[in-house]
């Protein structure tokens, strides 16, 4: 249970809100670089943290992200012409550069200097690891560029997709750290999904359906360990990373790619679910990439031309009751991503947390909320930079590992939980 005012604080991320200020402390993924594939390509709309923005790539390859609407009459610049180092409004020809500075107002004499007085709010947009990242906070507090391992490995080793989710970011993110649902909702996928099957660790999962959980604070967020029995009295640990505010990384399986998510608010009732797969020491195979593009693992198939999943709430997520009854899927929805999204969207755009009945195994969720609320308060009251901003907090990995019974997983997996170049992930 969370009091309404606490829930409101965590779920509202628009300009001026406490959690909005916190999100504006970080570099966040805004677009796939592939959405702006070449100079002077069509602009792209992007709603982030309840702000409607337009992104474009100018004639010199510079990226811009700014207020979507022309300062003149409020027309959407999505209809604009991207030409000669600027985005020109289709209505009266006002033109803006990548910093949001108006550089031409055709109806006014150039010598009047009128254009210089017109500036749209803009944010930096930089490419890193095939993703365009933005920082929407005060320029003076701009942190170093992101250093997540999945964007720093060579391009053939990483794959990222995104989808829109029709729920608040927090209930989506909480699904990412809610390890106890895996034994139910996703149980049908361990031995069938091409990006999961075949790992030795899967057998530990299937042999012991009642894992025991441990939660420990990390510098950037939380380590959430799920413990199952292994051979000779040892424990098989699956350790999830959560880095504030909304990065989650799931423990790997065998030699499969490692995967995780960012949950970025679009507005208070929808979010962008970013999903990445990468391998720290090898290229992804053609088979793996084909599976990812085909919506396997944590990725989805789309309605063509959109980032909306093909299975969505307008078609009841293509639920297959026969597959549910036969046990091929637990919920009847196919695919790990949509199994999660369907249930999280069913909670409503912003779930009423005053009515929930959390249990002991929900301590990962409880502690994440606790850390977020404390970080927001420290930021608002004392200007304390929140955890997760420092790139050292981003150099993390999830891990799957077998340990003796009396070893704290934070000790036994200490090295495995740090991203180090050319070192294989700890996986079983």
């Amino acid at each position: 249970m969370l009091r309404k005012e606490q829930s409101d604080q965590l779920t509202q991320t628009g300009p001026g809100t406490p959690m909005g200020l916190m999100f504006r402390s970080y570099w966040i993924p805004a677009l796939l670089a592939a959405e702006l594939p070449e100079n002077d390509c069509p602009p792209v709309r992007a709603k982030l943290l309840s702000e409607r923005l337009i992104a474009f790539r100018d004639s010199r390859g510079r990226y811009g992200l700014m207020d979507e609407f022309c300062a003149h009459r409020g027309v959407s610049l999505w209809f604009g012409r991207n030409e000669e180092c600027g985005l020109r409004c289709a209505y009266h020809g006002w033109k803006y550069d990548v910093t949001g500075q108006c550089i031409e107002v055709p109806s006014e004499p150039e010598a009047s200097g009128f254009a210089k007085k017109i500036t749209l709010r803009s944010y930096p947009l930089v490419e890193r690891g095939g993703i365009l990242w933005t920082y929407m906070g005060p320029p003076a507090a701009q942190p170093p560029l992101p250093e997540w391992e999945f964007i720093t490995v060579p391009p053939p080793q990483t794959f990222t997709s995104k989808r829109i989710q029709e729920s608040n970011w927090l209930q989506a993110m909480e699904g990412g750290i809610d390890s106890s649902h895996v034994s139910f909702l996703h149980r049908g996928d361990l031995n069938s999904d091409p990006l999961f099957k075949g790992a030795r660790g899967n057998q530990y999962n299937l042999n012991d359906s009642r894992p025991v959980f441990e939660v420990a604070e990390s510098a950037g967020g939380l380590h959430i360990g799920a413990r199952r029995n292994a051979e000779a009295g040892h424990y098989y640990w699956r350790i999830t990373q959560w880095v504030m505010p909304s990065f989650t990384m799931i423990a790997p399986r065998g030699n499969h790619a490692v995967h995780g998510h960012f949950w970025i608010p679009s507005d208070d009732e929808s979010c962008w679910a970013w999903s990445f797969d990468y391998h720290p020491i090898r290229e992804l195979t053609a088979t793996e990439l084909a599976a990812m593009r085909d919506g396997k693992g944590i990725h989805v198939r789309y309605i063509p031309g959109t980032y909306r999943p093909l299975a969505n709430k307008d078609n009841d997520y293509l639920i297959d009751r026969a597959a549910q009854k036969a046990g091929r899927t637990f919920s009847g929805v196919e695919g790990i991503a949509m199994q999660d999204a369907s249930l999280q969207e069913s909670m409503g755009p912003v779930v009423d947390r005053t009515k929930e009945n959390l249990v002991s195994t929900d301590n990962g969720i409880i502690m994440a909320r606790h850390r977020l609320l404390r970080a927001v308060k420290a930021l608002i009251d004392n200007g304390v930079v929140p955890p997760g901003v420092d790139p050292i907090h981003q150099k993390v990995r999830s891990a799957a590992i077998v340990l003796p019974p009396d070893v704290p997983f934070t000790e036994g997996a200490r090295e495995a939980l740090i991203a180090r170049p050319d070192i294989a992930p700890a996986s079983v």
Partner: protein, 158 residues
């Protein structure tokens, strides 16, 4: 045609969620297993929880006491618990964990192990306490700040 999912998960439909209470109170027994834990639960108990009661058990025998020092029987308290929270500091002084854990296990009562004062504790000290708590805890929490106890208790409707 719009599906049931599209309609039922809308913000407008959320207004029609049944407003009746959906749970009855759960009894939570919070037990300090060493001196560090006792400091934490004495502070916690001052908040005045509606559904939580607090005890200490600092020896391996049946020496459960309430915070006023009155002796209580472990089986009696576990019998009336929905959740038992076992709290201990680093260093491996949670001697009563086994006795209480066995009582919970026999009665199928949920248990949470909670390590206080973990910030700055050595791996060895932490390991000793975990070795005592883990066999009896279905959830173990290692928190840097004891303030987390308050949020956990609130979240669990204590």
């Amino acid at each position: 045609m719009q599906s049931e999912s599209a309609r039922m998960s809308s913000a407008a439909e959320a207004r029609f969620r049944v407003q009746a209470p959906n749970s009855t109170p759960r009894a939570i027994k919070v037990i300090a297993l060493d001196a560090a834990a006792e400091v934490a639960i004495r502070r916690l108990a001052r908040t005045g929880w509606a559904h939580a009661t607090f005890f200490t058990a600092k020896s391996p025998d049946d020496a459960l006491s309430d915070l006023a020092g009155a002796h209580c029987h472990t089986e009696d308290e576990v019998d009336t618990a929905d959740l038992v929270v076992l709290i201990a500091g680093p260093g491996g002084r949670a001697y009563a964990a086994t006795l209480i854990g066995e009582a919970c296990s026999a009665r199928r009562v949920m248990t949470t192990g909670f390590v206080v004062d973990a910030l700055g504790a050595s791996d060895r000290e932490l390991s000793k306490t975990l070795a005592q708590l883990r066999p009896w805890s279905l959830m173990v929490v290692i928190a840097n700040s004891d303030e987390y106890l308050d949020d956990m208790m609130t979240a669990l409707r204590a």
